[in-house]
Every structure is written in structure tokens, then in C-alpha cells.
Symmetry: C2
Subunit: 687 residues, 2 copies
């Protein structure tokens, strides 16, 4: 059996394992009972709203995908036309993963509420299982898509190193572009949706009508709960699907570009696939480790899962490197193993740093709590200070990881480090997606008027979910940074640039221009939230005005219209930033040339990563400062300090849930588009 | 007469012209009457406070300068040891310019108040003359310092092209480092001082004691007025002194590095000097054009001055290029003329764009005013959105200027464009420094209880001053960007790097690391304001507590102690960020190498410029949104919207007056330090 076929078998195994797990556990979820009628009805609205959003999103997405596919088929020559096929496959796989994740998440929320009647242990089990299905669907479908495309490549083109390098990999980079396109819609559109619904629900419901949060009389409350799923399940999933696929394909391209024998280069190109497949198994074992015993905290159970999976993944990495790469070529298998561990450690460190700057009761967050006592202005200034400071050490970690992994195994080592960070994505995403399920479960308990002890259980789950969400965001940014650097390196490889002189004036201006793009993008994203929220506010006011019976519960609010409005404005508002992200690299590539494009990619990555960390962590820190005050710190709930904290939290919301995460997409999308058009640019500029 | 000697004569003439003007006009200022006794007494406090700050600053600066000079003398070899002399000269020249500017500004403020009794025309004349002395002192002393050093170089070393390239210019780059060190203290320290005093005066005086702004019973009010001078006169002056000197020396280095005959290279190296000397004359003519006639606005008078000067400068540039460069070497004189015009146009465009995003009654500021109606959170979000958006077009202008000037005349063209932007610095600084004089004059009118019609005149002057301040900030950032790119190019020239491959892992990590530094620096600067303001608040509270007679005017507050406290904490708090800015390039240069340092410089510039524009413009826009509401827009003064606007303005203050401007210093300082240590790095790394 050739290495190629061996790799295909392994990734088929990995993807079937993941998809099989998802199927079995999804059936289990659907078997869990939901007895309470109100709970059933309301969770039905959320589930329906989530599907409405997805369907509307797909309706916009399909023509977009069709258009790009047509472009790829027409603008390319020869076999490269099949990029169009890879592209459609990538978009479909990511869309399917999002669909499954959302369906299961919106089925798990009510079941978590139900299970919470029996205490923390069963509730965590349902919520985390729901999340784990999302995690496994993402990695399973990513692997499965790659398996299909590589198998087709092998069958129709053969599996020589030259064909792999010149045709298969450039064609398959379309898969990554498909995933990115989907991520653009899910992450940017989802980010706008969730905050528009949130702000709309809060401003009219809480402030104007004076009803509590998550009250079922609020027409926007369902949209708010749908938003949690849209942003944190579908958005986060598509974002990391993109990182996962991008780093696998990028490292395959870098592997085949290493100097050495054909056999060795092929092995290096296939190793990322095998490593990722092994990571699926490690993630599954990690998921199995998440069991909370009575009296132990949910956080420690989740930690055991993620850190356990990482340890097992390290072991697998060593074994695979030993058997697959030992004695071949110039890069020692130990170096490659080290590179993967560097990535894992870097990912964990970023998580720990994020927790330090945003977690409840940490020094920086306490500082914000103290600043709340002197009003909104100091709250904002201090929070921004914390956010800016919080970017420093993660960047030090990322640069150290790049330098170290490059030191042990060259550019390929950097790619392996990125893969190492993403190897156990299955369990990390499970932890991430658990958050919104727990959050929804709490909202449902409130709306369905469950007794307070149920709400206490869901609150505990939710508190853990907030921390995991912040860590997940840090992780998503870190992996986006590494992924885009790898994609960028792969771009340089594909476009045929030998040297890009930093001092070239096009490169410098490219970097400067790239550096401002994240600001433009963030500004548009925040503006979009404002516009979409405004539409939502108008609608909620209209319903309260035209249906006066809503407040005394003689009329039911029209939840659907609110979901519709949030959906429509999210999709409308994401259009312009989306177009900018897609068109900029093409324009710069053809008008300014590949060197200017290289500068732009580095500029957008460096500036975007830092800005994204700043935004995500400021937002997270403000959120938890508010929570601390609500839980009795400083002057407590309802005080002036609390009002200031609410201002901080409101500013932080579009930071951490819209603009910040959108930047991950911007930097990866620009890099992958560049990689996909690299052969055209090479041809156009005669490189 | 050799070209070298001719250039020396011309710059001697330019500097004497500027210094002579300053002397004559300063005598005129001191002859203006100040009759009111309270006015005399209070302005005496301000003037004394400003001197206290400067003296204390120099006390910290002198050991710092001594230490760096010692380092330069010991770490260098051969003639390069004389960098220490250039360094001390640069620091002294900038310090002297700051001293003169502050002295004159604090003498002009009370005289402006007095003159305002006679209406707008005489008041503008006094205020603008005060500012113009600052402007002319800066360019005059910069030129004079260069004249002295170049003359010494010519006498002791001779004036061949080789000696110029290998010894004189590297030695003289120490002059630029001296200016940068001074700028670090004046801009960062000054930025912390001014906002600490401002916040302290506002929070205790206005909020706690309930006395109006600029009330003489407030112990911190003098410190607040001193702060305007410290930040906007001394700080802005030192910042632009640095840009001016940096871009002259940088373009001399790039000029001598152009391929061509020795004579041509020498001409290119000398041309920046001649051009700048001609710019002084143009600026003087521009200053002469600033005359307001009864019934015309002050703004149009100032505009006539700056645009008039730019037109004349363009004419001079053409004439000089024609006579000095026509027919020599490969770069045509027309190209060089065009490059200078590109710089002038870019500078003006940045000003216009800044005005668009921050000016009263502009669309973006009106949007913020509207957002104020829905509370502090939307005010902040909208303002940040405006600030982020506002960075985009200035960056487009800067990149276009770089590309165009490079297209016409290569890297040297980029340098000439930067010089073109700064050529009429004399009048631009005059307009900038006029702002705080007018602001102070208003404060003095209030504190000395002048009739309202006097206050109306000073208010009109002040309103114009706010716009010019915002434009000045945009201009300072734009020139900082171009200057640091030139210094960076000169660094590459000096360190002997042929090619810096963007794809090198050290370069990439350097860029990433560089990109996070502005965030670290801003975070520290904002934190420093918080700490210093806290010390000030404590002091004001203490005075009100221990001297209960202050409020009923039976006791006089201790203004001096407030100035002392603001001074002490400003100097203490700037220490750590200052050390980081100074030490980082040295550490990276010696540990990571010149390539990593190149990446860091580009990263810090790209990320820093964008962040600085964002911060400066958000702050400016919030400031004017508040002003609009106070002048009757939206719900007017005292309303909820006004309260939200005050929050925005308070957040914006450290943005636009501390963190944002400090970034100009950070990026230039890191570039100039790299340039100065370039010969050592070359030696150390064996390049």
C-alpha cells in the first residue's frame, strides 16, 4: 500500500469515527425527554428561528458560491478548473457541519433544562454531549471532504509527488476557500445577528417595557436566544472549520515544497492528514474524560477533557512521526513531534492568558470593577487598557511558537505547530459549543418559569460557559494567526516568488494598507450591529404598540418576525464588508502584484490579530466585571457602579461577538483567496 | 564655492531668518500690555507652573541624555563616537525650542486675554504671533543644530562624498536621536501631565465641589492650564521637531545612497537641507498672510497662511530643483519637484480628512451626537466606529503618496515627499501652538472674571483652535509615518542589508511583535493617566479638606503643589513605556538580528500609525460631539445626551492627548534608535 493510499485509509477512518460518534450521540440527545409543555413550545421557536436563519443564509450563500465557482471554472486553466468542485465541496461540508451543529444545539438546550431538574451532573452531560456533536461533525466533515477530494485526485490523476504538488494541492485549496466563504457568512452574518437581537431585546424589553431578561413576553427574546446559537455555534464552528482545513492544506503545500526526495516530500504532505486523523481519536478520548462527579466543578471536568486530549494527542504525534517519518529525509521525526507539541503548548498558553485577562476574580477584571465605581468613562478607559495589554503576551507566545517550531523543523515545522494547536479541535469545539447550549438552557428555564433551583443549575453551567467562550475566542484568534501565516507561506510557494523584499515600496505600502483593513472591517461590523439593532428596536416597539395584549399575556408576540428582521439585516449588512474581504486580495494581486499582495496579507494579519485579541478580551473582561458586580462585588446590582459596568458590557458586546471574531475570518479569507488565485497571478505576472 | 559650503550658507541663512523672526516677535509679545492685576497674577502661576514642569523634566532628562551619550561614546568605534556629541546637540536644541515655545506661549496667553477686550482682530494677532514664535524656534533651532554639526564635520573631516556617507551622516543621526529622546519626555510625559491635571480638575472641582471649569478656587486649575501648554506646545513641538530632523537626516542618507556620481550623490544629500531652508522662508511669508479683517473668520485667516505657504513652498521647490539638480545624474529635477508636491498635497489631504471625521457639524460627528441620545454605550460604540473608519482614507493617502513619489523618483522621492509635507512646518506649528494659547486665554478670562464679551472673543479663537489641533494631530501622525519609513530605509542602508525577505520567519515574527507594541504602549499611557489623575484627585480633595477657606475665597489654594504632583507622576509614569521604547530595538537588534528588527520597525509603524489615527480621531470626534450638544444640538447642555457625550469626551481625552500622540514618538524613536545603532549591528553581525 502506498503512503498515499495509507493516508486515505487513515483519514477515512478518522472521519467515520467522528461522524459515527456524532450520529450515535445525536440519537441519544433526541431520546432525552422534554416534558414541560411551555419548554417544548418555546424551544421549538428557538429551533425554528435557528433554521430560518440558516435557510435564509444558505439562500444568499448559494448564488454567491455559484458565482465564485463559475469564476474559478472560467478564470483557471486546465485541471485547475476543478478548484470549482473543491470549492463547492468545502462550502457544502462547512454548511452541513453548521446545520448539524445548530440542529443538535437547539435540541440539546431544552433537554439540558429538563435534565437540570435532576442536578448538575445530568445537565452537564446533556449540554456537553450536544456540544461534542458539533465538534465532531466539524472535524469529521472536514476530514471526509478532504478524503473525497484526495481520492478523486488519486483515481483520476494518479498519486505522484509532482501531480500532488502541481495539481492536486492547488485544486484542493479550493476546499479551503469554500470553508472560508461559509465562515464569512456564518461568522460575520452570525455576529451581526446575535448582537442586533441582543441589543434590541435589551433596549426595548428591559429598558423601555421594564420586563426582565429572557422574558417570554419580549418579541425579540427568541431572536436573542437564536443569536447565541447562530454566533457561538454556527459562527465559531465555521471559523474553526476554516482554520482546521486551512492549516491542513497549507501544511500539505509546505510539506511538498520541502527540498528532498519525492518519497519524503509526499510523506511530509500526507503527514498533516494522518496527524489530524489521530487528533480526532485523541479528541474523542478527551470527550470521554469529561464526567463531573457530584460535588466537583463543571470547569474541572471540561479541563480534564481538553488537557487529557492534548496529552494523548502528543503521544499519538510521537508515535506517528516515529513510524511514518523516522529515517526519511532531512527533518528528523523528533523535530516534527516537537513542533506539534509547541503548537499544543502555545494553544494552551493563549487559553490561560485569555482566562487571566478576562476571567472572573482575576486582577485585571477586578481593576475594571474598581473603575466602575468612578463611572462609565473610567470603566471604558480601564477596560480598553486591559484589552490592549492583554494582546501583548499572546503575541509573544505566538511569535515564540513560530520561532521555536521554525528552529526545529523550518517552515514546515511552523505548519505542524499550527496543526498541533488544532489537532484536538473536536474536543475544544465541544467545549465551545457547550457554552451557548448552557446559556440557552438558562434562558429556557426562565421563559418556561421553572423553579429557581433549576435556574441555579443552569446558571452554574452558564458561568463555566462564559469562561470557555472567552478562551475559545483566544484560541480561535491564535489559530487564525498561525493558519494565515501558513496559507501565506503556501501562497508564496504557489505564486513562485523567490524573495519578497520588505524594503520594496510595494511591500511597505501593502503592509500599511493591510494594517488599516481590520479597522475598516471592524468599523463596518460595529456599524452593521447598530443598523440591525435599530431595525429590531423598531419592530419590538411596533409589536408592543400594535399588540397591547403582549404585556399582560393575552396576546402572543410575533417571535418569527423578529428573527426574520435580524436575519434580513444581518445578511444585508454583512454584504459590503464581505465584498471588501473577497475583492481586495484579487484587486491588489492583479493591480499591485504578488509582492504588494504579500505585504497586504502580512499587514492584515499582524494588525488584525492584535486588534482581534484586544477587542475580544476587552469585551470578555467587561462582561465578567459586570457579572462580578451583579454577584455582589463593589456596590452590587442596581448601583451606580453596576450601571457603569452595563455600559462597559454593552460596548464590549459588538467588540467580542461581532467585530473581533470577524477579523479571524478577514485575515484567513484574504490569505486563502490569495492562495487560490496564486496560479492565475503567477501566469498573469509571468513569474 | 562647493555645493557643501553653499548648502551650509543657505541653511545658516534659513536658521538665522527663523531665529531672528522669533527674537523680534518675542520682544513684541513682551511689549504687549497686561493691565488687569488678577490676570497678571494668575497667568504668572501658569507661566511658573510651566517652567516648573520643564525644569523637573530636564532634571530627569539630563542624566538620561548623559547615560545615552556615554553609551554612544563607548559602544561606538572611531569617529562614530562623535554620535554622542550630535546626540547631546539634538536633545539640547529640541529642549531649547520647547523652552522658548513654552515661555512665549505662557506670556502670550494673558496678553491675548487683554487684547480680546479690543475684539477678535488684535486677539488673534497676539495669539497667532505667540504660536508663530514656537513654530519658527523649532525649525530655526533644528536648522541651526544641523548647521553647527555639518560645519564641524566639514572643517574636521572634509566634505567628500565618501566621508559624508560613511562618517558625517551616521554621526549626525545622533542629532535626530537627541531630538527623539527629548520628544519622548515632552510628548509622553506631557501627555500624561495634561490629562492627569484635566481629569483631576474636572472630577473634584466640577463634580465634587460643584464649581465651574477654570474657576480659580480649584487648586488643579492652574495645572490644567499648564497642561495645555505642556501637551500641545512643548509636546507637539518636540514631536514635530523630531519628524523634521528625522526626515531631513533620513533623506540625506537616502540621497547619498542613490547610485550615481559622487557629485550627484552629494547634491542629493544636500538638497533636503536647501529645501528645508527655503521652506522656512515660505513659512514666514505664510505667517505674514495670516491677518484677519473685521467680519472675516479666524479660520480662513489661518487657512490662508498654511495654504499660501504651501503654494510658495512648491514654487521654491521647483526653482531650487531646477538650479541645483537640473542636468545632473539619473533623477530629473522635475521628478524631485513632483515628489515634494506629492508630500504637500498628501499633508493637506490628511488635514482635510481629519477635519471631515472630527470637525463640528460634519456627518460623522453628527452621527455621534445622535448616538448620544441613546446613552453612553452607543456614544462609545459609534465614536469608535467613526475613529476606526477615519483611519482608512489617510492610510490610502499615505500609501498613494509613497507609491507615487517612489514612482517618480525612487526611494529618494519618498524622502522628498516627507520633506515636502514638513517643509512649511514653521507655519503649521504656528497654527498648532496658537490653539493652546487661545484656550489658555479663555481660561484666564474666566479665572480673572473678565466681562462675557471678552470670553466670547476667546471662545471664538478657541473653537478654531480645536479644529486646528485635530488637524495638527493628523498631520503629526502622517509625518511620523513617512519619517519612520525613511528612517527605516536609511537604517537598512546603514546596516548593510541587501534584502530583507518578508517570508523569513524572523521578519514575520518581528512584524507581529512590532504590531503589538503600540497596544502595549497605549495601554501603559492610558494607565499612567489613571494613576497620575488619581494622585491629583487625592491632592485636590486634601486641599479642600484642609483649607476650607478656599471655596469662600478666604484662603488661596496651593496651585504649585498640584503642578508638582502632576509633574512628578507624569515623569514617573512615563519611565516604563519610555524604557520599553528605547530598549526594545536594541534588544531585538542584538538578539534577533537586523532582519527581525526590520520586521519589528515595519510592524510597529503600520500598526502604530493606524492605531494613532483611530485614537486621535475618535477623541477629536467625541470632543466636538460634546461641543455640538453644548451649543444646542440634540437635547442641549445638561441633558441625558450631554451626559453621554461627556463620557465620550472623557474616554477620548487620553486617546487623543496621551496615547495617540505617544505612538508618533514610539514609531519614530524605535526607527531612529535602530538607525543610530546600525553601525554597531553591522559590525556585530558581520554584515
Amino acid at each position: 500500500m502506498s503512503d498515499f493510499v495509507l493516508a486515505l485509509v487513515i483519514i477515512a477512518g478518522g472521519s467515520l469515527l467522528a461522524l459515527g460518534y456524532s450520529l450515535v450521540r445525536a440519537r441519544w440527545i433526541y431520546k432525552q425527554p422534554v416534558e414541560n409543555k411551555t419548554l417544548k413550545r418555546i424551544s421549538g421557536y428557538i429551533s425554528e428561528g435557528a433554521m430560518t436563519f440558516l435557510m435564509r443564509e444558505y439562500k444568499v450563500l448559494i448564488p454567491f458560491v455559484g458565482f465564485v465557482a463559475l469564476f474559478l471554472a472560467l478564470a483557471n486553466k486546465g485541471m485547475l478548473r476543478y478548484q470549482a468542485v473543491s470549492f463547492v465541496t468545502g462550502a457544502s461540508a462547512s454548511a452541513l457541519a453548521g446545520f448539524i451543529g445548530m440542529r443538535v444545539a437547539t435540541a440539546s438546550n431544552s433537554r439540558t433544562t429538563h435534565a437540570a431538574q435532576g442536578g448538575l451532573v445530568p445537565a452537564l452531560k446533556v449540554a456537553f454531549t450536544g456540544g461534542s456533536i458539533m465538534g465532531m461533525s466539524v472535524v469529521g466533515l472536514a476530514m471526509f471532504g478532504l478524503f473525497i477530494l484526495l481520492t478523486l485526485g488519486k483515481i483520476f490523476l494518479g498519486g505522484t509527488t509532482v501531480i500532488m504538488a502541481d495539481t492536486i494541492l492547488p485544486v484542493i485549496s479550493g476546499f479551503s476557500l469554500g470553508a472560508s466563504s461559509m465562515a464569512l457568512f456564518a461568522r460575520v452574518g452570525g455576529g451581526i445577528f446575535t448582537k442586533a437581537a441582543d441589543v434590541g431585546a435589551d433596549l426595548v424589553g428591559k429598558v423601555e417595557a421594564g420586563i426582565p431578561e429572557d422574558d417570554h413576553r419580549n418579541p425579540a427574546t427568541i431572536a436573542d436566544n437564536v443569536g447565541d446559537n447562530v454566533g457561538d455555534v454556527a459562527g465559531m464552528g465555521a471559523d474553526l472549520f476554516e482554520s482546521y482545513v486551512g492549516s491542513i492544506i497549507g501544511s500539505m503545500i509546505l510539506g511538498i515544497g520541502v527540498a528532498g526526495s519525492d518519497v519524503f516530500r509526499m510523506k511530509l504532505a500526507l503527514f498533516p492528514l494522518i496527524l489530524s486523523a489521530a487528533g480526532i481519536l485523541a479528541a474523542l478520548i478527551g470527550i470521554g474524560l469529561v464526567r463531573v462527579k457530584s460535588g466537583k466543578s463543571a470547569q474541572s471536568a471540561l479541563n480534564r477533557g481538553t488537557f487529557g486530549a492534548a496529552g494523548i494527542a502528543a503521544l499519538f504525534s510521537f508515535i506517528l512521526a516515529f513510524f511514518f517519518l523516522k529515517g526519511e529525509g532531512d527533518i528528523s521525526y523528533v523535530s516534527i513531534f516537537f513542533a506539534s507539541v509547541i503548537g499544543m503548548v502555545a494553544g494552551s498558553l493563549i487559553g490561560i492568558l485569555t482566562e487571566h485577562y478576562t476571567g472572573t476574580d482575576t486582577k485585571p477584571v477586578k481593576k475594571i470593577v474598581k473603575a466602575c465605581e468612578t463611572g462609565a468613562a473610567t470603566t471604558i478607559i480601564t477596560g480598553m487598557g486591559v484589552g490592549m495589554m492583554s494582546a501583548f503576551f499572546p503575541i509573544v507566545v505566538i511569535t515564540a511558537a513560530i520561532l521555536l517550531s521554525h528552529f526545529v523543523a523550518g517552515l514546515y515545522g511552523v505548519a505542524i505547530a499550527a496543526l498541533g494547536m488544532l489537532m484536538t479541535l473536536g474536543v475544544q469545539l465541544a467545549v465551545d459549543a457547550y457554552g451557548p447550549i448552557a446559556d440557552n438552557a438558562g434562558g429556557l428555564a426562565e421563559m418556561s418559569e421553572f423553579p429557581p433551583e433549576v435556574r441555579e443549575v443552569t446558571d452554574e453551567l452558564d458561568a463555566v460557559g462564559n469562561t470557555t467562550a472567552a478562551i475559545g475566542k483566544g484560541f480561535a484568534i491564535g489559530s487564525a494567526a498561525l493558519t494565515s501565516i501558513i496559507l501565506f507561506s503556501a501562497f508564496k510557494e504557489q505564486v513562485g516568488l523567490k524573495v519578497v523584499d520588505l524594503m520594496g515600496v510595494r511591500v511597505i505600502t501593502g503592509i500599511l494598507f493591510g494594517a488599516v483593513l481590520p479597522y475598516l472591517f471592524s468599523s463596518m461590523a460595529m456599524n452593521a450591529v447598530g443598523e440591525a439593532a435599530f431595525a429590531m428596536i423598531e419592530e419590538v416597539r411596533r409589536q408592543f404598540r400594535e399588540k397591547p395584549g403582549i404585556l399582560d399575556e393575552t396576546e402572543e408576540p410575533d417571535y418569527r418576525r423578529c428573527v426574520d428582521i435580524s436575519t434580513a439585516s444581518a445578511l444585508k449588512e454583512m454584504l459590503l464588508p464581505g465584498i471588501i474581504a473577497v475583492v481586495t486580495p484579487v484587486l491588489i494581486g492583479f493591480l499591485g502584484g504578488p509582492k504588494m499582495l504579500s505585504g497586504t496579507l502580512i499587514g492584515v494579519t499582524a494588525s488584525g490579530v492584535v486588534l482581534a485579541i484586544f477587542m475580544a478580551n476587552s469585551g470578555g473582561a467587561w462582561d465578567n466585571a459586570k457579572k462580578m458586580i451583579e454577584n455582589g462585588s463593589s456596590q452590587g446590582k442596581g448601583s451606580e457602579a453596576h450601571k457603569a459596568a452595563v455600559v462597559g458590557d454593552t460596548v464590549g458586546d459588538p467588540f467580542k461577538d461581532t467585530a473581533g471574531p470577524s477579523l479571524n475570518i478577514l485575515i484567513k479569507l484574504m490569505a486563502i483567496i490569495s492562495l487560490v488565485i496564486a496560479p492565475m497571478l503567477k501566469n498573469y505576472w509571468g513569474l
